[in-house]
Subunit: 332 residues, 2 copies
């Protein structure tokens, strides 16, 4: 077995307790003792058994991250922000992916609680009764990153989905588009719901009615953008602008438009959402709505920490600002 406190205690002649304290930098231990113990520990290759420590202190210094799909660049960047911020605060990350399935989310949370994580950062589905009631009596702090759960909005850090989407459609409507095709996201996540609402708001504010035939729901994958655009074109759908739920969809859309001989932005304007790094390398460079991804992850960690420190701290919805980035897929 590995070297443990008792071994160091035996070698140095101090008690296990003193060794434990010295190693944790307890100020009550004299400088000399502390230095001796620490150097001896180093020399013996001591690595603290965090599991045993957690057991006693009932703190694991671990946060559970329930992501939707970490192979999606959007979540990957959020995750990176989370991991980085957590590491700096001496926390580790237990990661589980749900593939947007409410049931996987439920299982993930239960599993992480069994592993005694100190808190949770979750990218949840929008509206699931079983999960809702689970969250309502969770027992540990939790933050929803970039999404909200119906009825638990206070736990969310959001980035203005309705506003961002509304601005995109306002721009398109103001510049004269009569028929705007919208490739929406899956309706079980709040981003889809809110961005769709943003669209409706824009139409309302401009005193215009939107055509339900021009909205199609997708899973938000790159392939969806390509196949749905092909389908729309094949069935002769008419439009002069395309708004996409995210940049991945937009990439597929651009490909389809190109192959069908349509020019962007001359024939058709295209707007993405998320502003992935790759957006600026698409052909043409994609106009998009910027969301601060790494910052979102970081903010989620920071907020979660405050709740871990103070279990009575009230929850408040945090909002970040979206920002439209105009590149080459729009005329402006």
């Amino acid at each position: 077995m590995n070297v443990k406190l008792a071994d160091i205690a035996r070698v140095t002649g101090f008690s296990i307790n003193t060794v434990s304290r010295a190693l944790r930098g307890d100020s009550r231990i004299s400088g000399q003792t502390s230095r001796l113990i620490c150097s001896k520990a180093e020399e013996m290759g001591y690595i603290r058994n965090e599991v045993a420590g957690s057991m006693r202190s009932s703190r694991t210094n671990t946060i559970g991250v329930v992501s939707a799909d970490s192979s999606n660049p959007f979540f990957a960047e959020v995750l990176l922000g989370i991991e980085d911020a957590a590491r700096k605060m001496n926390y580790s990350i237990l990661l589980i992916n749900t593939e947007e399935q409410a049931e996987n989310e439920y299982d993930a949370v239960k599993l992480l609680i069994g592993r005694q994580v100190d808190g949770l950062i979750i990218i949840p589905v929008f509206d699931d009764p079983k999960n809702l009631s689970m969250y309502e009596s969770l027992g540990i702090p939790y933050i929803f990153a970039g999404r909200r759960v119906k009825g638990l909005e206070a736990h969310s850090i959001l980035h203005g989905d309705e506003e961002g989407s509304s601005e995109v459609f306002s721009y398109l409507l103001e510049t004269g588009h009569e028929r705007i095709f919208y490739l929406a996201g899956p309706d079980r996540i709040s981003n889809s719901v809110d961005r769709l609402e943003g669209m409706k708001r824009a139409f309302r504010e401009k005193g215009r009615a939107f055509d339900a035939d021009l909205v199609v729901e997708t899973r938000g994958h790159i392939d969806d953008g390509y196949s749905e655009m092909n389908r729309a074109l094949n069935k002769g759908l008419e439009f002069t602008a395309v708004a996409c739920f995210n940049d991945l969809i937009a990439m597929g859309v651009l490909k389809s438009l190109y192959e069908n001989g349509l020019c962007v932005p001359e024939d058709i304007e295209v707007f993405g959402y998320d502003n992935l790094n790759m957006a600026q390398y698409m052909q043409p460079r994609l106009s998009s709505v910027d969301v601060p991804k790494a910052r979102l992850g970081q903010a989620a960690v920071e907020e979660l920490m405050l709740h871990i420190e103070d279990g009575n701290r009230p929850y408040n919805t945090l909002e970040m600002k979206p920002r439209l980035v105009f590149r080459e897929t729009t005329k402006r």
Copy 2:
């Protein structure tokens, strides 16, 4: 506090021990007792404290994953494969990113060992003396996924970097290219080393000398492809084909070539590496070398499990086959 074994024991009248066994499905407990205990536990909302369990059994059912940069789609997909396979085997993932820094890798491994992970999957740097000596006396099983560490090849699952790269260059040389520009990866990771070696091998086999001026090292990011290609073009470098260390670089390259009025593949042929999903949506569709990413992650978990089960199992390098995918950035 949460409900624990003792609570269930009290309620059901059995001993803590019997409850523990019933809950773990120990076959020595009678069916009736077992059912009673399990249903009571369910009813009371019991969630097993895995930390306490691990403490005693010295098994955490956790594997540590030391990734290079999980915001890179390549690693993100490998990670997804890892997470998925691990979950199916009832294991959880502790994730740390290193940003390709040997020192971060060192710290990550030590930290994960302190957390008593049962094994490690690492995406390591190639050649660091301190890390090498750490690995040589690690004490727990470990697998390098998709990369090798100099001197510890047996711990790796590889995907034929030298072979894949050699095939790319063979194709380009055979089809008459005299000057091939290569955007290499960072020299501290084995993939760069091996793919570069593959290039050299191809030149050697064709009885040709390669020009060192036509090789430039990059970090492997999308921006590097764009900026290095711009730089090469600006200084008047001549070439008729571009091979890229990975698809991300290739995406940047395509953008630069387009902006400089060069046609792909007519003027310049381009080859990527990794075959990311997005490769087929680039403009034009990118020819690349396919690497089974999710499968790699899955294989790493499976192999690691065998070593966790049997601590004496010998390590053997595993090799997967690369496969060239010809799309629109090459003439063939």
